[in-house]
Symmetry: C2
């Protein structure tokens, strides 16, 4: 089953920015409170063709938001509360830009939604993990994705001016879902009663004032005259509720990256693209040379410390593969370096976990690994001579759909478990990758983690730590065939299969956003009632009404 849709690759999208380059957001720090103000420039869309009216957003706006949230955590640990508000008069945010959405390909819509979902989960992760509490200060209209952003915050304050409402008008106006977490957070996080949620989500004009508070859609309302006062009071209270961790941060320096036609190279990560095979080889290099073992030494390195540098690079590489390399179906995960050094680094990550910066780096690694879990490409981990799949890096192998380990006495390979496999990096459903791997034999988790050590191929196979162990005669052939078969299958079927097999066991609000909500939204994003010639998304803003196929499916 081969194929051959010839497509011209669009211009590369990159995800780097910094506050001095922001076009749409303003970040002000007045510790312990910071303020993130959204004032989207209408005439600065991420690609030409639409205007970002009424604080509507596109990928460009969200790239800045993600940057701001990451910087608050690393550069401003003294910040304990973040006010997210709108910089336009009587408008908080009108949600994702509809003309952008209706003019986007299906694949772009899906990728855009996934990135915005991850960014909003990043807000919740900052609240839970870093103790930076978020207050959505809704200074005016808050619709669709605007309200979904508010839902990601710890508290929502709505101005009570007789006019400003919160709303999720996606279903009645656009025939799609509030898919950036909206439906899930409404009933799962805020626990709004499902029948009230039904009315809310089908009422385009939304709900205002005290009714919004009564239904649990917002936490506070305040008249215009008192709004700023209440914002400051609640922000101060949120900040006071979260004990300070540090007074000085580290600077997130720009990534050192060389992009060429078929490769991306960073100091610790490299991606090589084989377009013929439709395969990317992603290699993470382990720590080299002497590494600091105390907090001061680590702080001196800052963003150049191996764990943060390598995983920021990995994060960037994953985003690049997702959005710029749609034709790559399979990523081979490799590592290169000294296993001992990786294990030693994990010792530092575990030993200094109470240091705020080390703690932040651990949380960052967790987010990047979750980005890997949620990437719609197949991953095979290759454990080969010279690799260093220990602890933190072994999480990559467990995140992969399969792992292959070479068993060659002349070229020995080992992997290692460390304390960092014991729950430091949770998957989005709240379980560790060890717990997920051994769902059927949970006693194995305690057994393996109770005796942290390295494993040779036979040993790794016995304990079920890798999928396939093959000797030097078979390894190359077996991997080659597995690769060829994988890329020959339907990309869509693989995406759906992986989205199911990767997440066995319990679910939570986060995983339901990607499992239940996103899957339904993707279905709807394919339906003519939304995206057809007369569909509601297509017809939005035009004088005629959409025309629906009235049949229920």
């Amino acid at each position: 089953m081969t194929s051959g849709t010839e497509t011209q690759r669009p211009a590369r999208i990159t995800f780097d920015t910094s506050p001095d380059q922001y076009k749409h957001w303003k970040l002000e720090v007045d510790a312990p409170v910071a303020r993130l103000t959204m004032a989207v420039q209408e005439n600065e869309p991420h690609r030409p063709g639409y205007e970002l009216k009424l604080n509507s957003y596109d990928l460009g706006v969200d790239i800045e938001l993600r940057d701001a949230i990451e910087r608050l955590r690393f550069e401003h640990p003294e910040v304990r509360a973040v006010v997210v508000t709108g910089g336009l008069d009587r408008v908080f945010c009108a949600g994702a830009n509809i003309h952008m959405l209706s003019s986007s390909t299906h694949a772009f819509k899906v990728n855009f939604c996934k990135f915005t979902n991850e960014t909003r989960l990043g807000i919740e992760d900052a609240s839970e993990g870093s103790g930076q509490k978020f207050l959505a200060a809704l200074n005016g209209t808050c619709a669709g994705g605007g309200y979904e952003l508010a839902l990601a915050c710890d508290e929502i304050l709505l101005i009570d001016d007789g006019n400003s409402a919160v709303s999720l008008p996606e279903t009645p106006l656009l025939a799609v879902l509030p898919g950036t977490g909206g439906l899930t957070r409404l009933v799962d996080k805020r626990k709004v009663r499902r029948d009230l949620a039904d009315i809310f989500c089908t009422t385009a004009e939304g709900v205002k004032g005290n009714r919004a508070k009564k239904w649990g859609l917002v936490d506070h309302v305040a008249p215009r005259s008192k709004f700023e006062e209440v914002v400051q009071k609640r922000a101060a209270e949120l900040a006071a509720s979260s004990p300070g961790k540090a007074s000085e941060g580290i600077t997130l320096t720009p990534l050192d990256r060389t992009i060429e036609e078929d490769s991306i190279v960073y100091p610790n990560v490299s991606v090589e693209i084989d377009r013929e095979e439709r395969v990317a080889k992603l290699t993470v290099r382990g720590p080299q040379g002497d590494q600091p073992t105390d907090a001061d030494g680590i702080r001196q390195l800052g963003a150049a410390w191996w764990p943060i540098q390598a995983f920021r690079e990995l994060d960037d590489a994953l985003l690049h593969l997702r959005i710029n390399e749609p034709e790559i179906g399979l990523v081979l995960l490799k590592t290169e370096g000294e296993l001992d050094k990786v294990v030693a680094m994990d010792g530092v990550l575990e030993g200094l976990k109470d240091d705020w910066f080390v703690g932040e780096v651990r949380l960052l690694i967790g987010r990047v690994l979750r980005r890997l879990d949620l990437t719609a490409k197949s991953f095979f981990a290759l454990l080969e001579p010279g690799s260093c799949f220990g602890g933190t890096l072994f999480e990559m192998a467990m995140a992969a759909d399969r792992s292959y380990m070479l068993d060659d006495p002349d070229n020995p390979v080992e992997l290692a478990l460390t304390a960092m496999n014991a729950g430091a990096y949770q998957m989005s459903q709240g379980a560790s990758r060890m717990e997920t791997r051994y769902l059927g034999t949970p006693e194995k988790v305690g057994e393996l983690l109770g005796d942290l050590r390295s494993y040779d191929p036979a040993d790794a196979e016995d304990e079920g730590l890798v999928t396939v162990v093959a000797d030097d005669i078979d390894y190359e052939e077996e991997v080659r065939i597995a690769i060829e078969e994988r890329v020959s299958m339907s990309p869509d079927a693989l995406t759906g299969m992986e989205a199911n097999l990767r997440f066995p066991g319990a679910e939570n609000c986060d995983s339901k956003i990607f499992g239940r909500l996103t899957a339904w939204q993707n279905w709807i994003f394919q339906r003519p009632n939304a995206v057809g010639e007369k569909g509601a998304l297509t017809m939005y803003g035009k004088p005629e009404r959409p025309v629906f196929d009235i049949r229920r499916t």
Copy 2:
């Protein structure tokens, strides 16, 4: 937003059958063991156009299976173990018929999968609720939906003849998912390690013999010479493990039903279709006259006892609405009768719950209510004068997306809670409808269930038992507008929205089948790589290979 795709309604599909009419299954009872043998007649497809080769199945085959499972529970409570096996030589079941699938509309595919999913969940419900244990005796090849049927059984025995394998070839061969619970049951129920599951689900030829056992894909293997002996031994052991409940069942008599162009009328349930409005009115009549209060009296009535008769009728009506009335977007749920009699009936359902037949009826009601939860139509419950929304019938109001209650002193309406709201009828995610309704205020559940009583409109509104209470001046207008708005919206967006809002909170294997797995499958069922002109489902069996758009989404 109106519409008007004019479509001719296809011939009505009905779901009634009985063992003497079976074409594809044979049901033999030799208590305490029963045997269900699949021997699909090639030339008896449910609609013309394809042949049911190699024990492949279609809706007609599954309608018989569902009937057999229901009859085993009610007519043969003496059965403690059920052997499910294949009646063809060296073939257990080749799965859902591919030519049937590829020639079906998207809507039919979705409805077919939902029904087969519910039937397989019925097997698990019979095992858990009725203690009838299922042994899948795989006498030969077991592919796709065939293996998904086996996965629904308590144990799987595979013949070890060097040839027969279990397989899920949907992804590699057809570019779709094993969507009838396959992916979910593999990793969630059987807890097969996710990387082994990845290999299994991408290997079209499947896995045989001891390897299948080692991976946890089957529980036992036996050579051909010993196969029947092991079947009988395991069936006897399963039967012995499940204590007997009764020696004699009741007969599931045919439903008394009158179908006309725009209505279906049963003794206790009626459906009236308003095609102009695209609304159905579904009315359940409460028990009338004197009702038995002891096990003997109930047993004498058998299938004519109100609870089983009414809910069998409701089940049939729901299936009819789903599959034969795609243009009906909204169902108004009404009840008619005396609230006191409904409450008294619930007293009997609770008081005699240890009686096997009453227990079976409770489980049946639970399945029917879950079918309602999972129906892709909007439901509004209308609590109006003459209604009798008490206990069991009030579950329908809680299952609805919204409920409206008239507050008119001249025409008083009441609802009632009973012990039957305290968990007797669980939703598919394992929570009661009360727990789901009050997810944000769980203390309310105990409070309300600790003081079982009836509620007038003001009281019901205060306690959050209904969505909207309106007085006689506003009620009619408010309901009319709500109905008009609802049917004006995109059917697809509403389906997706309801699938999210109806299931807040935790998930389990059952709910993940409908939430995560089904949603992804429906997306894939829309993708050109599966169903396009050159898609794998379309091209199956043709000489050319499918052509894929290689881009990953």
